[in-house]
Symmetry: D3
Subunit: 292 residues, 6 copies
């Protein structure tokens, strides 16, 4: 967020944007924004607090990545702040997200959204799909998210990828790290609907080769990480990938044509140590640098 402090100049004021994302909107190539919505979460809410926490805690992070030998300060990223989203009216919240995604994409920029629960990815992917009809989705997650209905609902964090499939059809969703779901979901995926990779990110290189030149949306449900390193999430699921495994998978995406992306499902209050928020910040930094 570029703050305009006319009249009060010459003082060193702490930034309120994500670290290293200090470009103005017009000059920016990438626009990040927060979608603090967790209204369909049945079990443990709190991802609404993620964007605010990540900005505040990003001060503990360097802008430079030794893994990629790149620096956020060499990129042009604008931090638009957080959308003001209504609770209790899911469809109106999703429309607002769709609106800003569309606006950013039309301006020739690439949106990177900070959730919020995973359902916020649905309007973002839908808008990207309108702009790039042959879009593929790379999906990191602990959970299949492929139920058709969840507690009678069609629209929820537990069936968001199924709704994406409604839009893109078979073979265009590439899932990694999946280790939880119903038997029906796993069988449905395995029958050809999605390319589901169990437990790890193994296979990412093949996927990257296959998607060379194709527009890609990357959605990272941070609970793909093992809860040892990422306890701050609504439905922690043991047996996940380590940070370095996710890091290497992200680096593997470097050559892809990533049009838009998101990181979702940080619930900062469930991890009082602040580690989960710090990890989310580092994942976002690496993702942004991969897109750079």
């Amino acid at each position: 967020m570029s703050d305009n402090k006319t009249g009060l100049t010459g003082f060193e004021i702490l930034k309120s944007c994500f670290i290293g994302c200090e470009a103005g909107y017009d000059e920016s190539d990438i626009v990040i924004f927060g979608a603090p919505f967790d209204g369909t979460v049945t079990f443990r809410p709190g991802s609404r607090f993620a964007p605010m926490s990540m900005r505040a805690e990003s001060i503990g992070l360097e802008t430079y990545s030794p893994y990629q030998n790149k620096d956020l300060e060499d990129m042009k990223i604008y931090d638009a702040g957080d959308l003001d989203l209504p609770f209790g009216d899911t469809s109106r919240a999703l429309q607002k997200i769709a609106g800003i995604e569309r606006y950013i994409i039309k301006a020739g920029k690439r949106p990177v959204m900070i959730g919020g629960e995973h359902l916020v990815s649905l309007p973002a992917i839908e808008e990207a799909l309108k702009a790039y009809p042959d879009l593929h989705i790379i999906h990191f997650d602990a959970h299949t998210d492929l139920r058709d209905e969840y507690l009678g609902e069609k629209l929820s964090h537990a069936n968001v990828i199924r709704r994406v499939w409604d839009l893109v059809g078979d073979g265009r969703i590439h899932q990694f790290g999946i280790r939880s779901g119903t038997r029906e979901e796993f069988e449905w995926a395995d029958s050809g609907h999605t390319k589901l990779h169990r437990y790890t990110t193994k296979g990412i290189e093949e996927t990257v080769k296959e998607l060379s030149g194709v527009p890609v949306y990357v959605t990272i449900d941070l609970d793909v990480l093992d809860p040892s390193i990422f306890p701050g999430t609504g439905t922690p699921e043991a047996g996940g990938v380590s940070f370095m495994e996710l890091e290497n998978a992200l680096i593997a995406l470097s050559g892809l044509d990533i049009k838009a992306a998101d990181v979702v499902e940080l619930s900062p209050h469930y991890d009082a140590s602040g580690v989960s928020t710090a990890v989310a910040c580092k994942v976002l930094r690496e993702l942004l640098l991969v897109m750079g």
Copy 2:
């Protein structure tokens, strides 16, 4: 919840109902149930966890009240457990609450609901009103809850009492402990729509006299208590009533014809000490004994 453990008898098993509420449904006079819903909460959710926490922590409470010299064990109360409510679809959740309230009232029993956010009171009051058309509402709260709209929503924890007014009209809502709202809400109330008592429970005796013989619904938003004694709530508001002030106000209600009631807005996770849950349990005990 009366558990049927056919085949495994003779062992001392810990109860899973609220302490002292071990009557069977048929013999019961009062039925308590949980409405674990907080789907419209914008700021800090978590009241969905209240009924479960209160049952578990009620083991630390005596069934006897020295204040009233009464004992829950001398009453007939059935604990029906918690409704399974959907998130992301507010109206369906409210319908389910309406259903069980109606069922209990039709059976000639008195429902006492454990929220959940304050919006759960709306269907409960609506059902009580159908059965008792001249119902008055006694409302303890820190907040006016009288907005007509809140962030564009008509149905939310911030305007539940306004929606109740839509049903009952002027002069039948008696508010106590109110210390937060917009100027418009206070002025609207003071212009004759509700009987709003600021900051304290002063005036409760007059109200009780006025309502002699009239059917009454009591809704206790626990944040009427000062956050020093009740920090575990979504929007803590300093300057509230002490436990003993609320206790004395409840005792003042003893002669009233209370047809139904609720206690709402405990968010147990915000108070790791467990005190807020213990206080909520004690308020519920005292309320039940007042109804006995």
Copy 3:
């Protein structure tokens, strides 16, 4: 716990049993129950809260395991609730556990106990031993638990396996993951009293081969897991096994004749993130499925 709600039917009420364990007692093959006792813990108590927490949090878990391709809903498991155990009188508490274990075994069913501190395994193993005199014990733990006395006590969480050895003698206790104890304990074990495997679960396949056809009791002190993934325990000990290592060790047990089992030493309050409880639930699910 199968609840009998005569008179109040037709409402969707949240379950209070461990997820997927909804069989009635008579039809059940496996009976789970809680032993919420931590009375001999010197350092950090709290495992008394484990069974209650696990039931409540199990709602976040799927009943299906992709690792085993099995589902709890295809089994017949009865959840008996938690024993009401006295504190300050260790021997009376242990007698109560012995009583229910005996009852379940005599009924031809298999008991699975949720601790509580590790000492609760002693009466459970003793009862299983009475029914199956050639019983072997598979023991996952960070700690040897082989002291003869601990702070002058013969009966404590720190010498429970030594007391089991008093009952079964040399060569019938198979320990995995052990990484903490006195020099005397390690030397005593290595001199032939127990089969102690240091640090990891390596060797589990050989043990399984050796125990083919033999009745087995499996006791899982959850602190065998690395504290990174399981911080919620009284004496966390770094250098433990990962979830996937324990998972694979459990799957290795699939062919064994497991007569009874337990999972112990979750102290949920020490891990406010809820991850430890979620991990304990997942371990219990996998253990139950291995027994299915």
Copy 4:
């Protein structure tokens, strides 16, 4: 604890004793020690951590009291550290407490014990009674502690004062602040067995007059304080006394011949803010100054 650091002198080393209690044993008039035992607590343990926490946090407290215009540094108090007490064997733990109380009293000094659960007061009072047969007990508490049995136990935190009555008989126990118990306990007390003052410390001046010249034991269960100011305790009970009310009651005791005393039932881990520990330290300071 006076530390003997021969050989390493001339450095400013932080003290590990309670603030202002730096006298040597021989010169001391009062001896404080910790009894970190909570083995009979059924509901929420943790008072075992109180003495250690209080020493560490006492650094935030001044030694001077403006209320009494006295200073701990003008007294001679020795801090003996904490007893090493066994868990799982209640009677052995109580014997160890009795031993040190007896030793201190025989040396003509006055013991002040930091609990631990309330049961630790029993051996302390018993030893004081042996030395001063006409001892009266002043008891601050939220709970009656007068059950004859609790969950089948004769020795527990819930019946400690009943056990004291077994020793001293009618009329010599003066209870203040009591607001929780069974109907039977209140009736038993009111029938002449103890002098029970409900809810507040009102009546303390009369008691002080009555006990002029009589040897007195003061036992302060800190849960007499309202949980708003003292949430860190096992069974918080709303409606308690404020700090200033307790402070004034303690000052009222100034003229009494206090032979021994204790403060019990701080469970520091239940109050992460540290306020409960700070309050316990301040109560201990004021109690010590009253005895000075």
Copy 5:
């Protein structure tokens, strides 16, 4: 903070300023800014996090005060954000604070600073004194803060008011709520150096009368509040004033000519419930409205 989002307009973005403080700098009458410094705190640091927490949590507060019947939205307040202050170099940090205070005062505006530890008040008062040589200081605090040296330091949170006295001399510091300090500090104050009011805010009306027409600086160390309502502070001191007592004292200041002010010593992390931060926000709102 007025954000300049050129190019990305038409979206509802969440504000990052304190609620109701959305004026531009030029039009503003009052300027609030944060001084996140706690570098001299010996015991428990953390007040550096206060300004950021207060902004984020202010969303839970109404802009309207029923106590004063005033609304922040009717005032012109600019939120300048937080100074970027160095740690480990106290004097450089204080210089930066002095700089912004001077700038604001010279612009004819009134600065209101959010601490940080109490030492940040020193440069703020010094600058106000330069502009208004007959300045008086109204000081709410639990602690005297009058030591001449603290652990060998002349500049620390424990002697800030003594340093202020070095500047203003006798009779111009009016202290309220004081309940902790050394005997020397109390005696030094009482000998005529400051006007020290013990324990409560009694006497505030007389002070207000006396200071009619005189320029005043108001410094509120929030630990003047009882730790029951304000646990989130470094050195909680029981026996403090209630929120309503502080509220009434603030309202009493309404007629004064308040030139500058601060609220200090919130350490939000020590109170995970968020109540302390909510209370600090409400105190700041009331203070701003008093100045309006």
Copy 6:
């Protein structure tokens, strides 16, 4: 700390020293002491609480290491307690640390310091260097700590190793586990100033061979560990080494001539589970045993 309890003997009193470090000063070979200073930490302070927490929690640790088959009880280690260090005056704090280091080294003993922030290593290394001019430094850390200035400061936790380089020059600092810093820091190190090993401890065996016979100082910034196992630190950085990797690296140091050492940057309050403190204790035990 050897406590001198003349006059009060014959009672089992809990130790207040680090477990197994009960030797007297004169007989000791190694002296441990705490340096509770975190005054230059910009982001999240709290390492000042580390030494006290580690002593208290060390009771949960065995003195015997199965990894090394050694026991602290076979060594002669004296625990000197914690230095009383001033805040707000960095250089005075560092002088005090230098003083005790010098004293211990001159006595022919080996100092092992418990931090505090990493800056405390500077005076310790400086003193060791005076005594052993050809000293090499083995440095475990997540961060380079090689900035020349940090926020305008020359002396801070973020540039401590750069200040060490000022003293020792090129090639004598061996860094392991480094994964965070600016591009400039990495390039500066790689240009020959330090021997920087990225991400892991790989290369430690070569370093050990190279340093055979050379005096060595070992400084362990515990944040070299992955935050999954060590969340309790100021700037957690994902992608770190596991406990077993650090353990094996320490064992690799066994043959070296370690003259002095430290473990720094535990911030216990950020990890309420206590695991970080337990890990720090275990690292310290292993380090001490390696030096034995």
